[in-house]
Protein backbone atom coordinates (compact mmCIF):
# COMPACT_ATOMS: atom_id res chain seq x y z
CA UNK A 1 0.00 0.00 0.00
CA UNK A 2 1.56 3.35 -0.97
CA UNK A 3 2.17 5.79 1.83
CA UNK A 4 -0.12 8.76 2.12
CA UNK A 5 -0.53 11.49 4.69
CA UNK A 6 -3.77 13.42 4.90
CA UNK A 7 -5.35 16.22 6.92
CA UNK A 8 -9.10 16.13 7.61
CA UNK A 9 -10.70 19.33 8.87
CA UNK A 10 -7.44 20.08 10.60
CA UNK A 11 -7.39 23.12 12.85
CA UNK A 12 -4.91 24.39 15.37
CA UNK A 13 -4.99 27.29 17.82
CA UNK A 14 -2.27 28.32 20.25
CA UNK A 15 -2.88 26.94 23.74
CA UNK A 16 -4.27 29.31 26.39
CA UNK A 17 -1.54 31.57 27.66
CA UNK A 18 -1.12 35.31 28.13
CA UNK A 19 -0.65 37.36 25.01
CA UNK A 20 -2.57 38.61 21.99
CA UNK A 21 -2.29 35.28 20.18
CA UNK A 22 -3.94 33.27 22.92
CA UNK A 23 -6.77 31.18 21.49
CA UNK A 24 -6.27 32.64 18.02
CA UNK A 25 -6.75 29.94 15.37
CA UNK A 26 -3.57 29.51 13.33
CA UNK A 27 -4.81 26.79 11.01
CA UNK A 28 -8.46 26.46 10.01
CA UNK A 29 -10.30 23.54 8.49
CA UNK A 30 -7.43 22.15 6.44
CA UNK A 31 -8.22 19.27 4.13
CA UNK A 32 -5.22 18.08 2.16
CA UNK A 33 -3.63 14.89 0.91
CA UNK A 34 0.11 14.37 0.68
CA UNK A 35 0.63 11.24 -1.37
CA UNK A 36 3.76 9.12 -1.28
CA UNK A 37 6.05 9.49 -4.25
CA UNK A 38 5.51 13.25 -4.52
CA UNK A 39 7.35 16.32 -3.28
CA UNK A 40 4.83 18.81 -1.92
CA UNK A 41 5.87 22.41 -1.34
CA UNK A 42 4.00 24.46 1.26
CA UNK A 43 4.70 28.16 1.02
CA UNK A 44 3.33 31.27 2.67
CA UNK A 45 4.45 34.44 4.38
CA UNK A 46 6.34 34.37 7.69
CA UNK A 47 4.06 33.51 10.58
CA UNK A 48 1.44 31.86 8.37
CA UNK A 49 1.75 28.59 10.27
CA UNK A 50 3.92 26.53 7.90
CA UNK A 51 6.11 25.19 10.73
CA UNK A 52 3.06 24.37 12.83
CA UNK A 53 1.50 22.47 9.93
CA UNK A 54 4.69 20.45 9.43
CA UNK A 55 4.94 19.70 13.13
CA UNK A 56 1.35 18.47 13.08
CA UNK A 57 2.08 16.28 10.09
CA UNK A 58 5.11 14.80 11.85
CA UNK A 59 3.11 14.04 14.98
CA UNK A 60 4.99 16.48 17.21
CA UNK A 61 1.74 18.24 18.12
CA UNK A 62 -1.90 17.32 18.47
CA UNK A 63 -4.41 19.37 16.47
CA UNK A 64 -7.04 21.40 18.23
CA UNK A 65 -9.64 19.72 16.03
CA UNK A 66 -9.69 17.46 13.01
CA UNK A 67 -7.14 14.72 12.49
CA UNK A 68 -3.99 13.60 10.73
CA UNK A 69 -4.39 10.33 8.89
CA UNK A 70 -1.37 8.24 7.85
CA UNK A 71 -2.02 5.27 5.59
CA UNK A 72 -5.64 5.29 6.69
CA UNK A 73 -4.84 5.43 10.44
CA UNK A 74 -5.86 8.47 12.54
CA UNK A 75 -2.43 8.88 14.11
CA UNK A 76 -3.23 12.20 15.74
CA UNK A 77 -5.84 10.48 17.92
CA UNK A 78 -3.56 7.69 19.06
CA UNK A 79 -2.11 7.37 22.54
CA UNK A 80 1.35 8.79 23.07
CA UNK A 81 3.06 5.41 23.04
CA UNK A 82 1.56 4.49 19.64
CA UNK A 83 2.32 7.87 18.16
CA UNK A 84 5.91 7.56 19.37
CA UNK A 85 6.22 4.27 17.52
CA UNK A 86 4.65 5.73 14.36
CA UNK A 87 7.05 8.67 14.52
CA UNK A 88 9.93 6.25 13.87
CA UNK A 89 8.77 6.26 10.28
CA UNK A 90 9.00 10.04 10.09
CA UNK A 91 11.98 12.29 9.54
CA UNK A 92 11.86 15.97 10.31
CA UNK A 93 14.26 18.79 9.39
CA UNK A 94 13.60 21.58 11.89
CA UNK A 95 13.81 25.21 10.96
CA UNK A 96 16.12 25.74 13.97
CA UNK A 97 17.97 22.47 13.29
CA UNK A 98 17.92 21.49 17.03
CA UNK A 99 21.30 19.78 16.94
CA UNK A 100 22.58 18.42 20.28
CA UNK A 101 25.50 20.64 21.21
CA UNK A 102 27.39 18.14 23.39
CA UNK A 103 27.54 15.48 20.67
CA UNK A 104 29.63 15.39 17.51
CA UNK A 105 28.16 15.76 14.03
CA UNK A 106 28.20 12.01 13.41
CA UNK A 107 26.59 11.28 16.79
CA UNK A 108 23.81 13.75 15.99
CA UNK A 109 23.16 12.03 12.69
CA UNK A 110 23.14 8.62 14.41
CA UNK A 111 20.49 9.60 16.97
CA UNK A 112 17.44 8.18 15.12
CA UNK A 113 19.23 4.84 14.72
CA UNK A 114 20.22 4.23 18.33
CA UNK A 115 16.94 2.88 19.72
CA UNK A 116 16.62 0.50 16.78
CA UNK A 117 18.50 -2.69 16.11
CA UNK A 118 22.14 -2.73 15.15
CA UNK A 119 25.22 -1.52 16.91
CA UNK A 120 27.71 1.33 16.89
CA UNK A 121 29.47 0.08 13.77
CA UNK A 122 26.27 0.03 11.72
CA UNK A 123 25.16 3.38 13.10
CA UNK A 124 28.48 4.94 12.16
CA UNK A 125 28.40 3.46 8.68
CA UNK A 126 24.87 4.71 7.97
CA UNK A 127 25.66 8.13 9.42
CA UNK A 128 28.84 8.56 7.42
CA UNK A 129 27.10 7.44 4.21
CA UNK A 130 24.32 9.97 4.64
CA UNK A 131 26.73 12.79 5.49
CA UNK A 132 28.73 11.95 2.37
CA UNK A 133 25.63 12.26 0.19
CA UNK A 134 25.22 15.80 1.47
CA UNK A 135 28.92 16.59 1.06
CA UNK A 136 29.37 16.82 4.82
CA UNK A 137 31.41 13.68 5.42
CA UNK A 138 34.44 15.59 6.66
CA UNK A 139 32.34 17.23 9.34
CA UNK A 140 31.65 13.90 11.05
CA UNK A 141 34.09 14.11 13.98
CA UNK A 142 33.59 17.81 14.62
CA UNK A 143 31.69 19.23 17.56
CA UNK A 144 28.46 20.88 16.51
CA UNK A 145 29.43 24.20 18.04
CA UNK A 146 32.06 24.76 15.33
CA UNK A 147 29.62 24.53 12.39
CA UNK A 148 28.26 27.33 10.26
CA UNK A 149 24.52 27.76 9.71
CA UNK A 150 24.59 26.01 6.37
CA UNK A 151 26.62 23.12 7.75
CA UNK A 152 24.20 22.74 10.62
CA UNK A 153 21.30 22.52 8.20
CA UNK A 154 23.02 19.82 6.17
CA UNK A 155 23.69 17.81 9.35
CA UNK A 156 20.05 18.23 10.39
CA UNK A 157 18.93 17.01 6.97
CA UNK A 158 21.27 14.02 7.19
CA UNK A 159 19.80 13.16 10.58
CA UNK A 160 16.26 13.31 9.24
CA UNK A 161 17.01 11.03 6.28
CA UNK A 162 19.51 8.56 7.79
CA UNK A 163 17.00 5.81 8.52
CA UNK A 164 15.07 6.10 5.21
CA UNK A 165 11.80 7.41 6.64
CA UNK A 166 8.43 6.97 4.98
CA UNK A 167 7.34 10.51 5.85
CA UNK A 168 9.69 13.47 5.51
CA UNK A 169 8.86 17.02 6.56
CA UNK A 170 11.50 19.70 5.97
CA UNK A 171 11.03 23.19 7.35
CA UNK A 172 13.09 25.76 5.43
CA UNK A 173 15.89 23.21 4.88
CA UNK A 174 18.03 25.46 2.68
CA UNK A 175 17.64 28.84 4.38
CA UNK A 176 21.42 29.09 4.92
CA UNK A 177 22.65 26.98 2.02
CA UNK A 178 24.40 28.01 -1.17
CA UNK A 179 22.82 26.89 -4.43
CA UNK A 180 25.03 23.82 -4.92
CA UNK A 181 24.29 22.42 -1.49
CA UNK A 182 20.60 23.30 -1.86
CA UNK A 183 20.48 21.39 -5.13
CA UNK A 184 22.22 18.44 -3.49
CA UNK A 185 19.57 18.35 -0.79
CA UNK A 186 16.85 18.81 -3.36
CA UNK A 187 18.10 15.77 -5.29
CA UNK A 188 18.12 13.72 -2.12
CA UNK A 189 14.55 14.72 -1.30
CA UNK A 190 13.56 13.81 -4.83
CA UNK A 191 15.15 10.40 -4.50
CA UNK A 192 13.36 9.92 -1.18
CA UNK A 193 10.03 10.66 -2.83
CA UNK A 194 10.85 8.41 -5.77
CA UNK A 195 11.12 5.41 -3.48
CA UNK A 196 7.56 6.07 -2.29
CA UNK A 197 7.94 8.34 0.73
CA UNK A 198 5.77 11.37 1.49
CA UNK A 199 7.93 14.52 1.25
CA UNK A 200 6.55 17.87 2.44
CA UNK A 201 8.81 20.92 2.26
CA UNK A 202 7.98 24.32 3.74
CA UNK A 203 9.75 27.30 2.22
CA UNK A 204 9.02 30.93 1.45
CA UNK A 205 12.01 31.16 -0.84
CA UNK A 206 10.96 32.47 -4.23
CA UNK A 207 13.64 30.50 -6.03
CA UNK A 208 12.67 27.09 -4.71
CA UNK A 209 12.33 25.71 -8.23
CA UNK A 210 16.06 26.27 -8.71
CA UNK A 211 16.91 23.53 -6.25
CA UNK A 212 13.73 21.45 -5.73
CA UNK A 213 11.63 19.48 -8.23
CA UNK A 214 8.12 20.05 -6.85
CA UNK A 215 5.09 17.90 -7.73
CA UNK A 216 2.49 19.91 -5.82
CA UNK A 217 2.56 23.50 -4.53
CA UNK A 218 0.24 24.59 -1.72
CA UNK A 219 0.02 28.02 -0.12
CA UNK A 220 -0.96 28.71 3.47
CA UNK A 221 -2.84 31.94 3.86
CA UNK A 222 -4.97 33.13 6.78
CA UNK A 223 -5.02 29.64 8.18
CA UNK A 224 -6.26 27.97 5.01
CA UNK A 225 -4.27 25.72 2.73
CA UNK A 226 -4.93 26.25 -0.95
CA UNK A 227 -3.31 24.87 -4.04
CA UNK A 228 -1.36 27.39 -6.02
CA UNK A 229 -3.04 27.94 -9.36
Amino acid sequence: MPTVLACRHLAYAYPNHAGPSAGTPLLQDIDAVFPGGQVVLVSGRSGAGKSTLLHLLAGLLRPSSGEIVADGQPVSRWLTAHRDRWRRRAGIVFQQDHLVSDLTVLENVMLPLIPRSGGPRQWRACGLAMLARLDAGDLAPQPVATLSGGQRQRVAAARALVDAPDYVVADEPTAHQDLDNARRLGRLLRQTADRGAVVVVAAHDRHVDEWLDVDQHLILDNGYLQPVP
Binding site: L60, D84, R87, D102, L111, I114, P115, S117, P120
Partner: protein, 382 residues
Protein backbone atom coordinates in the same frame (compact mmCIF):
# COMPACT_ATOMS: atom_id res chain seq x y z
CA UNK B 1 12.91 -4.93 16.20
CA UNK B 2 15.48 -6.55 18.43
CA UNK B 3 17.11 -4.04 20.71
CA UNK B 4 20.86 -4.20 21.05
CA UNK B 5 21.13 -3.78 24.81
CA UNK B 6 24.90 -3.63 24.88
CA UNK B 7 24.99 -0.91 22.26
CA UNK B 8 22.40 1.09 24.13
CA UNK B 9 24.35 0.75 27.36
CA UNK B 10 27.41 2.03 25.50
CA UNK B 11 25.38 4.95 24.21
CA UNK B 12 24.24 5.76 27.75
CA UNK B 13 27.90 5.83 28.76
CA UNK B 14 28.64 8.18 25.88
CA UNK B 15 25.91 10.56 27.00
CA UNK B 16 27.31 10.57 30.53
CA UNK B 17 30.76 11.39 29.24
CA UNK B 18 29.41 14.42 27.43
CA UNK B 19 28.90 15.97 30.89
CA UNK B 20 31.88 14.58 32.81
CA UNK B 21 31.82 17.17 35.58
CA UNK B 22 28.19 16.68 36.51
CA UNK B 23 28.49 12.91 36.25
CA UNK B 24 31.54 12.82 38.48
CA UNK B 25 29.94 15.14 41.01
CA UNK B 26 26.83 12.99 41.30
CA UNK B 27 28.90 9.82 41.55
CA UNK B 28 31.16 11.24 44.24
CA UNK B 29 28.21 12.56 46.20
CA UNK B 30 26.46 9.22 46.14
CA UNK B 31 29.65 7.39 47.01
CA UNK B 32 30.37 9.66 49.93
CA UNK B 33 26.83 9.41 51.27
CA UNK B 34 26.97 5.65 50.99
CA UNK B 35 30.30 5.50 52.79
CA UNK B 36 29.05 7.69 55.63
CA UNK B 37 25.90 5.70 56.21
CA UNK B 38 27.40 2.25 55.74
CA UNK B 39 30.40 2.95 57.95
CA UNK B 40 28.22 3.82 60.91
CA UNK B 41 26.02 0.78 60.53
CA UNK B 42 28.85 -1.66 59.83
CA UNK B 43 30.89 -0.34 62.74
CA UNK B 44 28.03 -0.64 65.17
CA UNK B 45 27.31 -4.19 64.09
CA UNK B 46 31.00 -5.17 64.07
CA UNK B 47 31.74 -3.76 67.52
CA UNK B 48 28.73 -5.50 69.03
CA UNK B 49 29.54 -8.82 67.38
CA UNK B 50 33.22 -8.65 68.32
CA UNK B 51 32.52 -7.65 71.90
CA UNK B 52 30.01 -10.43 72.40
CA UNK B 53 32.31 -13.04 70.90
CA UNK B 54 35.37 -12.04 72.92
CA UNK B 55 33.46 -11.78 76.18
CA UNK B 56 32.36 -15.39 75.86
CA UNK B 57 36.02 -16.23 76.51
CA UNK B 58 36.03 -14.28 79.76
CA UNK B 59 34.56 -15.24 83.12
CA UNK B 60 30.87 -15.97 83.50
CA UNK B 61 30.60 -14.12 86.80
CA UNK B 62 32.67 -11.57 88.71
CA UNK B 63 32.20 -11.18 92.43
CA UNK B 64 33.47 -8.10 94.24
CA UNK B 65 33.24 -7.11 97.87
CA UNK B 66 31.50 -3.76 98.17
CA UNK B 67 31.40 -1.08 100.86
CA UNK B 68 29.70 2.30 100.94
CA UNK B 69 32.90 3.80 99.47
CA UNK B 70 32.98 1.39 96.56
CA UNK B 71 35.06 -1.78 96.28
CA UNK B 72 37.36 -3.46 98.76
CA UNK B 73 39.84 -6.28 98.40
CA UNK B 74 38.73 -9.71 99.53
CA UNK B 75 40.53 -12.68 101.01
CA UNK B 76 41.65 -15.25 98.46
CA UNK B 77 40.34 -18.02 100.69
CA UNK B 78 36.80 -16.94 99.84
CA UNK B 79 37.34 -18.64 96.50
CA UNK B 80 36.61 -21.86 98.32
CA UNK B 81 33.20 -20.54 99.36
CA UNK B 82 32.39 -19.93 95.73
CA UNK B 83 33.68 -23.33 94.64
CA UNK B 84 31.33 -24.97 97.13
CA UNK B 85 28.35 -23.80 95.10
CA UNK B 86 27.15 -26.44 92.62
CA UNK B 87 27.64 -25.35 89.06
CA UNK B 88 30.78 -23.29 89.62
CA UNK B 89 33.80 -25.05 88.19
CA UNK B 90 36.47 -22.39 88.62
CA UNK B 91 36.98 -19.51 91.02
CA UNK B 92 39.92 -17.34 90.10
CA UNK B 93 41.09 -14.60 92.45
CA UNK B 94 42.16 -11.62 90.36
CA UNK B 95 44.69 -8.94 91.16
CA UNK B 96 44.30 -5.98 88.87
CA UNK B 97 43.80 -2.24 88.82
CA UNK B 98 44.44 1.05 87.10
CA UNK B 99 47.72 2.87 87.65
CA UNK B 100 49.66 5.71 86.12
CA UNK B 101 52.84 5.80 84.12
CA UNK B 102 54.68 8.89 82.90
CA UNK B 103 53.03 8.40 79.52
CA UNK B 104 49.51 7.76 80.72
CA UNK B 105 47.17 5.34 82.45
CA UNK B 106 47.47 1.57 82.14
CA UNK B 107 45.66 -1.48 83.48
CA UNK B 108 47.80 -3.76 85.58
CA UNK B 109 47.03 -7.43 86.07
CA UNK B 110 48.91 -10.18 87.92
CA UNK B 111 49.96 -13.30 86.04
CA UNK B 112 48.33 -16.07 88.04
CA UNK B 113 48.60 -19.81 87.48
CA UNK B 114 45.83 -19.97 84.92
CA UNK B 115 47.44 -17.18 82.94
CA UNK B 116 50.80 -18.93 83.07
CA UNK B 117 49.30 -22.14 81.73
CA UNK B 118 47.10 -20.56 79.09
CA UNK B 119 49.67 -18.12 77.79
CA UNK B 120 51.88 -20.99 76.74
CA UNK B 121 49.40 -21.74 73.97
CA UNK B 122 50.42 -18.80 71.79
CA UNK B 123 54.07 -19.20 70.92
CA UNK B 124 56.92 -17.40 72.66
CA UNK B 125 54.82 -15.97 75.47
CA UNK B 126 56.06 -16.66 78.97
CA UNK B 127 54.74 -15.37 82.25
CA UNK B 128 56.77 -12.49 83.76
CA UNK B 129 59.21 -13.06 86.61
CA UNK B 130 59.66 -10.50 89.43
CA UNK B 131 60.96 -7.26 88.03
CA UNK B 132 59.64 -8.00 84.57
CA UNK B 133 56.53 -6.99 82.71
CA UNK B 134 54.60 -8.24 79.71
CA UNK B 135 52.99 -5.22 78.10
CA UNK B 136 50.59 -4.44 75.30
CA UNK B 137 51.50 -2.59 72.12
CA UNK B 138 50.06 0.68 73.39
CA UNK B 139 52.26 0.93 76.49
CA UNK B 140 55.03 3.42 75.74
CA UNK B 141 58.47 2.47 77.02
CA UNK B 142 61.76 4.35 76.59
CA UNK B 143 63.77 2.58 73.89
CA UNK B 144 67.08 3.04 75.69
CA UNK B 145 66.52 0.83 78.71
CA UNK B 146 63.00 -0.67 78.35
CA UNK B 147 62.16 0.31 81.89
CA UNK B 148 58.64 1.17 82.85
CA UNK B 149 57.77 3.23 85.92
CA UNK B 150 54.40 2.39 87.44
CA UNK B 151 52.80 4.64 90.06
CA UNK B 152 50.24 2.97 92.30
CA UNK B 153 50.17 2.72 96.06
CA UNK B 154 53.92 2.71 95.65
CA UNK B 155 56.06 3.32 92.62
CA UNK B 156 57.83 0.39 91.07
CA UNK B 157 60.10 0.08 88.06
CA UNK B 158 59.98 -3.01 85.90
CA UNK B 159 61.79 -4.09 82.78
CA UNK B 160 59.63 -4.74 79.77
CA UNK B 161 60.64 -8.23 78.70
CA UNK B 162 57.92 -9.02 76.15
CA UNK B 163 55.04 -7.49 74.36
CA UNK B 164 51.68 -8.97 73.58
CA UNK B 165 51.17 -9.43 69.82
CA UNK B 166 49.24 -6.73 68.04
CA UNK B 167 46.55 -9.21 67.06
CA UNK B 168 45.52 -9.23 70.74
CA UNK B 169 45.21 -5.44 70.93
CA UNK B 170 41.52 -5.52 71.65
CA UNK B 171 42.38 -7.19 74.94
CA UNK B 172 45.94 -6.12 75.76
CA UNK B 173 46.63 -2.77 74.12
CA UNK B 174 47.30 -0.82 77.33
CA UNK B 175 47.69 -3.80 79.63
CA UNK B 176 50.69 -4.49 81.85
CA UNK B 177 51.04 -8.03 83.20
CA UNK B 178 53.28 -8.37 86.28
CA UNK B 179 54.46 -11.10 88.55
CA UNK B 180 51.93 -11.42 91.42
CA UNK B 181 54.42 -10.13 93.98
CA UNK B 182 55.08 -6.98 91.96
CA UNK B 183 51.38 -6.47 91.37
CA UNK B 184 50.54 -6.71 95.06
CA UNK B 185 53.29 -4.27 95.96
CA UNK B 186 52.16 -1.81 93.32
CA UNK B 187 48.49 -2.01 94.18
CA UNK B 188 49.00 -2.09 97.95
CA UNK B 189 47.47 -5.52 98.51
CA UNK B 190 48.34 -7.85 101.34
CA UNK B 191 49.61 -11.36 100.46
CA UNK B 192 46.22 -12.99 101.08
CA UNK B 193 44.20 -10.32 99.29
CA UNK B 194 42.70 -10.20 95.82
CA UNK B 195 40.60 -7.59 94.06
CA UNK B 196 37.75 -9.83 93.05
CA UNK B 197 36.82 -13.34 92.01
CA UNK B 198 36.28 -14.44 88.43
CA UNK B 199 33.99 -17.47 88.28
CA UNK B 200 33.36 -19.97 85.51
CA UNK B 201 30.14 -21.96 85.58
CA UNK B 202 29.37 -25.31 84.02
CA UNK B 203 26.44 -23.97 82.02
CA UNK B 204 26.75 -20.32 81.05
CA UNK B 205 22.97 -20.02 81.12
CA UNK B 206 22.97 -20.85 84.83
CA UNK B 207 25.04 -17.81 85.77
CA UNK B 208 22.06 -15.57 86.39
CA UNK B 209 20.37 -18.20 88.53
CA UNK B 210 23.44 -18.51 90.77
CA UNK B 211 23.36 -14.89 91.93
CA UNK B 212 21.30 -15.41 95.13
CA UNK B 213 23.35 -18.42 96.19
CA UNK B 214 26.58 -16.56 95.61
CA UNK B 215 25.37 -13.57 97.59
CA UNK B 216 24.57 -15.86 100.52
CA UNK B 217 27.96 -17.62 100.32
CA UNK B 218 29.95 -14.56 101.43
CA UNK B 219 29.89 -12.97 104.86
CA UNK B 220 29.82 -9.39 103.50
CA UNK B 221 27.93 -7.53 100.82
CA UNK B 222 29.04 -8.39 97.29
CA UNK B 223 28.37 -7.07 93.82
CA UNK B 224 27.92 -9.79 91.24
CA UNK B 225 28.26 -9.04 87.55
CA UNK B 226 27.38 -11.59 84.87
CA UNK B 227 28.63 -11.64 81.31
CA UNK B 228 25.24 -10.37 80.27
CA UNK B 229 25.71 -7.33 82.50
CA UNK B 230 29.05 -6.67 80.84
CA UNK B 231 27.53 -6.97 77.37
CA UNK B 232 24.79 -4.55 78.33
CA UNK B 233 27.35 -2.11 79.61
CA UNK B 234 29.25 -2.14 76.33
CA UNK B 235 26.00 -1.98 74.36
CA UNK B 236 24.99 1.10 76.36
CA UNK B 237 28.39 2.66 75.87
CA UNK B 238 28.32 2.02 72.10
CA UNK B 239 24.74 3.09 72.02
CA UNK B 240 25.72 6.48 73.46
CA UNK B 241 28.39 6.84 70.82
CA UNK B 242 25.97 5.55 68.23
CA UNK B 243 23.58 8.28 69.30
CA UNK B 244 26.24 10.85 68.58
CA UNK B 245 26.95 9.18 65.27
CA UNK B 246 23.26 9.36 64.40
CA UNK B 247 23.66 13.12 64.48
CA UNK B 248 25.95 12.66 61.49
CA UNK B 249 23.06 11.13 59.61
CA UNK B 250 21.10 14.36 59.67
CA UNK B 251 23.53 16.19 57.40
CA UNK B 252 23.82 13.03 55.34
CA UNK B 253 20.05 12.93 54.82
CA UNK B 254 20.01 16.63 54.00
CA UNK B 255 22.83 16.04 51.52
CA UNK B 256 20.81 13.21 49.97
CA UNK B 257 17.78 15.46 49.63
CA UNK B 258 19.90 18.16 48.02
CA UNK B 259 21.33 15.60 45.63
CA UNK B 260 17.84 14.41 44.74
CA UNK B 261 16.67 18.00 44.20
CA UNK B 262 19.69 18.68 42.00
CA UNK B 263 19.01 15.58 39.92
CA UNK B 264 15.35 16.46 39.51
CA UNK B 265 16.33 19.95 38.39
CA UNK B 266 18.83 18.51 35.95
CA UNK B 267 16.21 16.16 34.54
CA UNK B 268 13.68 18.96 34.14
CA UNK B 269 16.35 21.00 32.37
CA UNK B 270 16.65 18.15 29.86
CA UNK B 271 13.15 18.78 28.52
CA UNK B 272 14.26 20.05 25.14
CA UNK B 273 16.60 17.10 24.68
CA UNK B 274 13.83 14.63 25.47
CA UNK B 275 11.51 16.46 23.09
CA UNK B 276 14.12 16.26 20.34
CA UNK B 277 14.73 12.57 20.92
CA UNK B 278 10.99 11.92 20.73
CA UNK B 279 10.82 13.90 17.50
CA UNK B 280 13.63 11.74 16.10
CA UNK B 281 11.71 8.53 16.73
CA UNK B 282 12.62 7.62 20.32
CA UNK B 283 9.65 6.17 22.13
CA UNK B 284 8.81 6.90 25.75
CA UNK B 285 10.14 3.48 26.61
CA UNK B 286 13.47 4.20 24.86
CA UNK B 287 13.85 7.48 26.71
CA UNK B 288 13.03 6.05 30.11
CA UNK B 289 15.34 3.10 29.42
CA UNK B 290 18.15 5.50 28.52
CA UNK B 291 17.67 7.58 31.67
CA UNK B 292 17.48 4.47 33.82
CA UNK B 293 20.63 3.05 32.23
CA UNK B 294 22.49 6.32 32.78
CA UNK B 295 21.32 6.44 36.39
CA UNK B 296 22.44 2.88 37.05
CA UNK B 297 25.78 3.43 35.32
CA UNK B 298 26.45 6.27 37.72
CA UNK B 299 24.64 5.04 40.79
CA UNK B 300 25.63 1.39 41.04
CA UNK B 301 29.41 1.87 40.82
CA UNK B 302 29.22 4.90 43.12
CA UNK B 303 27.29 2.95 45.72
CA UNK B 304 29.43 -0.15 45.28
CA UNK B 305 32.57 1.94 45.66
CA UNK B 306 31.15 3.66 48.72
CA UNK B 307 30.31 0.33 50.31
CA UNK B 308 33.78 -1.02 49.58
CA UNK B 309 35.37 2.02 51.19
CA UNK B 310 33.09 1.66 54.23
CA UNK B 311 34.01 -2.02 54.46
CA UNK B 312 37.69 -1.18 54.36
CA UNK B 313 37.33 1.63 56.89
CA UNK B 314 35.66 -0.67 59.37
CA UNK B 315 37.41 -3.96 58.83
CA UNK B 316 40.95 -3.06 57.80
CA UNK B 317 42.96 -4.06 60.87
CA UNK B 318 45.40 -1.22 60.40
CA UNK B 319 42.67 1.39 60.69
CA UNK B 320 43.04 3.55 63.76
CA UNK B 321 40.42 6.19 63.19
CA UNK B 322 37.77 4.35 65.23
CA UNK B 323 39.97 4.29 68.29
CA UNK B 324 41.14 7.86 67.81
CA UNK B 325 37.88 9.53 66.87
CA UNK B 326 35.26 7.46 68.66
CA UNK B 327 36.82 5.59 71.56
CA UNK B 328 39.10 8.21 73.05
CA UNK B 329 42.60 6.94 72.24
CA UNK B 330 45.10 9.74 71.81
CA UNK B 331 48.64 8.50 71.25
CA UNK B 332 48.16 5.02 69.89
CA UNK B 333 44.99 3.14 69.09
CA UNK B 334 44.53 -0.64 69.25
CA UNK B 335 44.38 -2.57 66.00
CA UNK B 336 40.75 -3.36 65.47
CA UNK B 337 40.33 -6.93 64.28
CA UNK B 338 36.58 -6.66 64.17
CA UNK B 339 34.29 -9.53 63.29
CA UNK B 340 33.32 -9.55 59.65
CA UNK B 341 30.28 -11.26 58.26
CA UNK B 342 26.61 -10.25 58.05
CA UNK B 343 27.53 -7.15 56.09
CA UNK B 344 25.09 -8.08 53.30
CA UNK B 345 21.89 -6.80 54.97
CA UNK B 346 23.63 -3.52 55.79
CA UNK B 347 24.91 -3.23 52.22
CA UNK B 348 21.42 -3.75 50.85
CA UNK B 349 19.86 -1.35 53.33
CA UNK B 350 22.26 1.49 52.59
CA UNK B 351 22.20 0.86 48.85
CA UNK B 352 18.42 1.10 48.96
CA UNK B 353 18.43 4.29 51.02
CA UNK B 354 20.74 6.01 48.54
CA UNK B 355 19.72 4.41 45.25
CA UNK B 356 15.94 4.50 45.47
CA UNK B 357 15.54 8.27 45.94
CA UNK B 358 18.12 8.84 43.22
CA UNK B 359 16.33 6.57 40.77
CA UNK B 360 13.03 8.18 41.66
CA UNK B 361 14.52 11.61 41.00
CA UNK B 362 15.73 10.44 37.59
CA UNK B 363 12.70 8.44 36.55
CA UNK B 364 9.81 10.61 37.68
CA UNK B 365 10.60 13.63 35.47
CA UNK B 366 11.55 11.22 32.66
CA UNK B 367 8.20 9.47 32.85
CA UNK B 368 6.33 12.78 32.85
CA UNK B 369 8.37 14.12 29.94
CA UNK B 370 8.15 10.91 27.98
CA UNK B 371 4.37 11.16 28.05
CA UNK B 372 4.39 14.71 26.66
CA UNK B 373 4.25 15.85 23.04
CA UNK B 374 7.69 16.55 21.56
CA UNK B 375 6.87 20.10 20.47
CA UNK B 376 5.68 21.01 23.97
CA UNK B 377 8.99 19.86 25.38
CA UNK B 378 10.98 21.66 22.70
CA UNK B 379 9.07 24.88 23.32
CA UNK B 380 9.32 24.71 27.11
CA UNK B 381 12.95 23.79 27.05
CA UNK B 382 13.91 26.64 24.74
Amino acid sequence: MKHNRTAQILWAGRELLSHPGATLLIALSMGLLTTMMATGLLLSQALTATTNRLLTQGPDLVVRRVTPDGGQPLNVKTAAAAMAIPGIIEARPRIWGTVRTPQGVVTVVAADQQAIQRLKVPDAIRAPVPGEALVGSGVTVPETDSRLVLQGGTAITVRVAQRFPREADLVTHDLVMLHPADARLLLGLAPEEACDLALTVFHADEAEALRPELARAFPWPVHIATRQDTRKHYATSFGRRGGLAVMLYFPAIIALLLLVAGVVRQQIGNRARVGLFKALGWTSRDIVALQLTKALLVGLPAIAGGLMIAYGLVYAPSQQWVGTLLLGWQKTSPLMYLDTGYAAPIFLEVAGIVLIPYLAAVLWPSLVQAASDPQDLLNRGA
